[in-house]
Amino acid sequence: MDLEQLRKTAAEVVAKDDVKYLIGWKKGTYGYRVSPVFIENEADTEDLIFSPLCTANLVTYLTLVEKPPLPRGQKPDTRKVALMVKGCDSRAVAQILVEKGIEREQIIVIGCPCPGVIDVNLLVAKYPEVAENTELKWSGEDFVLIRGGEEIPVKREEVLAEKCRLCRYPNPVVSDIMIGEPVKPWQTEEDTGVSELEGKNVAERWEYWEEQFARCIRCYSCRNVCPLCYCEDCILDRLNPTWINRAVNFSENTAFHIARAFHLAGRCVECGECERVCPVKIPLGRLNRKLAREVRDNYGFEPGLDPDGKPFQASYKPDDPEDFIL
């Protein structure tokens, strides 16, 4: 990716009167960290980066915006928001558009074809983090680590995020401006990474998930970071009726995760954010990808590919399978 081109384009975008800000990535304060950045003026576009460390999905910031009551007579700020997206992020944009969560004309999508980003935990395990800000760059099919003027080659498979290993859509499916050339999909065959789990029997699977869910501390990070969990008033927070009790225990945790997985069936775009932010490392991606596979196998539907399509839950074909109806 040509950073100069990115910054120049970004400067042109934020210079427009009808653009509120641009959401992108910038260097973090230490080590491998990268932060989201909201750029309002041209000068700040110098901070923008796009590197294998940009794992976070910025789409969630589109719907996180609070809409506080406006003083009488004051018009709401309807200026556009520009944001940078990778292939997986762009699917979230497409899905939100399908759900009318945002309006197409309210956003400017800057598409960044993505050769794959890293799982920072794997990187830290292999190359311990130091206080000094460290850069990671794409280099051919692999990565190169730049620290204290030294360049250390890093093998792709050692640090690649799981979502990228399974990724079939590295190029943005929705974009207004594309920066850089499209990349070849790493994966062409559908693989949800859950085959091993599917091979186990019910008791074994239950045991596996029991172990996972028992660890959950119900911090709700997974829900909060998810670009598609954007109901202002989540039903899992409601008291009447109380779908999920506040108690943090295996039973309620399981109910929480299953309810969330069902709400994401046919909507999850497999961006992996839930898994990335989980402080206790519950492999939530597997749960969501399993449901995604069910939807794909049974109904031939994949979310987040067609921004003009119909939502899965709300579409019907006369030949939809119904063998599950007793």
């Binding site: 406006l70 759900e99 008033d233 409601r238 709300a314």
Partner: protein
């Protein structure tokens, strides 16, 4: 819900329907101890006058404010009991039915099990009834007009009845003339009335009736609104003939370059017509239509030196520039009378319909035997070599009916009798013919039908029980291979002609009508009525009724009866001028609705739309329910991710305790 709930609970014996497998006294005793239950009683028939009086008396004397009746399905008597509690000044929606008959006593054989389940059902009703909210029904005005789709005998009869009652009727027919299938028939069983002679007066009445507006060669394109207030858009296809000028003289058809070269649909493909045509001589309206698929002028833009029809027409009615016309109007009720297709006999290849010209269908036989048919009523067939008068004729019944191999398990109900009638007509035309009918069963169930069947058998028509396996050619003859199952004798019957008594099937294009009116299909793929016994002409969509074979195969008397029934039902909202809106409708919590529109997409009644609202200065979209259209089915609720749309009386907070009570926890 300011008052503390005081529940009255009534357990019905339903004779022995419930009490044979449910210990009703034990259930009442158990219910007595449930929270807020003030009184629990049993009675032999709760729906009877004394049963209802019991409830009323308790409301009056014991100050009940909630009532539960543990009895049959709410589909049976919910209305009865609502009315009863309303008469005592209670909100009718403070009533809950615990279904301990269909869902309990009828499905259990063991008294212990049945009683235990009845107790749970009652406990679950108690858990819910406390949480019910008072609801008010509303009324809206109804448009005093009706739309009838399809102008066969069903549509015609319904139109005449409604129009005679003084309401406006829009009768829409897709073909150029009204009349439908009945116009194609020769005689009708069992009285042998000439079909056209009894139908055409009704067709003429339709055309001349001041309250009926005929929209022939037209198609309903859009239906919006709800019972009492439908807005209809109809496309009147271009006829390329100015109907105000056309006198129906027929000079154009004689002059047409394609005269007698185009297959006539009316004659089931056996006769010929021109590109400009009137389907049959008694057509209503008696106007000509140009077939845009065949007319040289319309397909190639050129017809010799100039279209001959235009030259021939003294009235100057031909107009190749004519465009489709969209007509828009409002009605209060709709009757669907779209009729049927006949079974395509080529789907039974063993009968050789596609290969042998002397294997014909029952419908083709109707045209062949008709004096206005392609042969003028002479029975002549081509046996592959020459045209002959058939002397040996076989009828095969149940072709495409009662046959799982073609997906039609139902009986088409008319084939037995039309076969008998056609056998009789052939006997009249060819007295020395040998006529044999191959059948599975003979179903002669209507008035005068059995007598007619006997008469035909006495006329030396042989009925042989057996379902032929194959028809093949041997020399000039067709061989029907069959086993006579009464004598267990394999037969090979050599005949000159085979008539396949094809069954009735739903219209191939019925899905368009289904989508337009949100109708559903029953197992046989015909339109589904609201209740097979008690609401046979209603549909799940209020204000939309069914008449004739679109609902299931039936003969002419049944069709006319159903059409009259549909007309009477359709006139209820028209005559009262008011429509009561169901109060148990979906309701939106606009504060949490995120405007995704999932509910809009799944609503089977198009009752939900997205509207823009101003929430503290921000414009956003939220769902809004049209209460007149909503049926309270809850589909919207099932897809709503933020739980913002729920049917009244079936809100989560009302049904979750109900479900929990069934499980026996919480």
């Amino acid at each position: 819900m300011t008052d503390k709930p005081r529940i009255g609970l009534y357990v019905c014996h339903c004779g022995i329907n419930i009490s044979a497998t449910v210990d009703v006294d034990a259930v009442a005793k158990y219910a007595q101890n449930l929270p807020n239950v003030h009184v629990a009683r049993t009675y032999s028939y709760m729906c009877s006058e004394p049963g209802q009086a019991l409830i009323k008396k308790d409301i009056r004397e014991q100050g009940l404010n909630r009532v539960i009746v543990a009895s049959c399905s709410p589909r049976m008597h919910e209305k009865t009991f609502r009315k009863a509690v309303q008469e005592e000044g209670l909100n009718p929606y403070f009533l809950e039915i615990a279904n301990i008959r269909e869902q309990c006593s009828w499905v259990h054989e063991d008294m212990t099990e049945g009683t235990a389940k009845a107790k749970k059902l009652v406990a679950s009703a108690v858990a819910k009834v406390r949480l019910l909210e008072p609801l008010e029904s509303t009324e809206v005005d109804a448009e005093p007009a009706a739309l009838i789709i399809g102008a066969g005998i069903a549509g015609i009869q319904a139109a005449l009845d409604i129009a005679d009652a003084g309401f406006k009727v829009y009768l829409v027919e897709k073909s150029p003339s009204i009349g439908g299938r009945m116009a194609q028939l020769d005689k009708t069983f069992p009285t042998l009335d000439c079909s056209a002679c009894i139908l055409t007066p009704k067709m003429v009445d339709c055309a001349s009736h001041p309250n009926i507006e005929l929209l022939t060669y037209a198609k309903v394109e859009e239906v919006d609104g709800f019972v009492g207030n439908f807005t209809i858009k109809v496309r009147k296809k271009a006829r390329y003939v100015d109907v105000d000028k056309c006198t129906g003289c027929g000079e154009c058809a004689k002059a047409c370059r394609l005269a007698n070269r185009i297959t006539s649909e009316f004659d089931e493909g056996m006769g010929k017509r021109s590109a400009i045509y009137m389907p049959f001589p008694q057509a209503v309206p008696a106007k000509y239509t140009i077939d845009p698929e065949n007319c040289l002028m319309l397909t190639r833009g050129k017809c010799g030196k100039g279209p001959k029809c235009e030259e021939a027409c003294q009235a100057g009615a031909i107009n190749f520039e004519q465009q489709d016309e969209i007509v828009e109007f409002k009605v209060g009720a709709i009757i669907v009378a779209t009729g049927f297709d006949t079974f395509d006999a080529s789907r039974k290849p063993e009968y050789g319909y596609s290969n042998y010209p002397n294997v014909i269908t029952g419908m083709e036989m109707e045209r062949l035997v008709s004096s206005s048919g392609p042969t003028g009523g002479d029975i002549k067939v081509f046996n592959g070599e020459e045209e002959i008068v058939p002397k040996e004729i076989a009828f095969i019944k149940c072709v495409g009916s009662r046959d799982a191999s073609v997906g039609n398990e139902y009986c088409s109900r008319v084939c037995c009798m039309y076969t008998a009638k056609q056998a009789h007509l052939l006997r009249e035309k060819i007295p020395d013919a040998k006529i044999r009918v191959y059948y599975i069963d003979v179903r002669a169930f209507g008035k005068g039908y059995e007598e007619f069947y006997d008469r035909v058998r006495r006329e030396n028509v042989r009925y042989i029980r057996g379902n032929p396996s194959e028809i093949f050619k041997r020399g000039k003859k067709l061989v029907v291979k069959v086993e006579d199952t009464l004598t267990a004798t394999p037969l090979e019957d050599e005949v000159d002609m085979v008539v396949l008594a094809v069954g009735l099937e739903p219209r191939a294009d019925m899905r368009e009508v289904m989508d337009l009116l949100r109708l559903s299909q029953s197992g046989d793929k015909f339109f589904m009525e609201a209740h097979p016994k008690l609401r046979p002409v209603d549909t799940a969509t209020d204000g939309v009724f069914l008449a004739g074979c679109c609902q299931g195969p039936k003969d002419i008397p049944d069709t006319v009866a159903q059409a009259k029934g549909a007309a009477a039902s359709a006139m209820v909202p028209l005559a009262s001028g008011k429509v009561t809106i169901n109060a148990q409708v979906a309701t939106v919590n606009e504060a949490t609705c995120r405007g995704c529109g999932y509910c809009v997409s799944v609503c089977p009644y198009s009752a939900i739309e997205l509207v823009t609202v101003n929430r503290f200065g921000h414009e956003l979209e939220v769902a809004r329910v049209n209460e007149a259209l909503c049926k309270g089915c809850g589909s919207c609720s099932s897809v709503c991710l933020s739980d913002s749309i729920q049917p009244k009386s079936f809100r989560d907070r009302q049904i979750l305790p109900q479900i929990a009570a069934l499980g026996g926890t919480r």
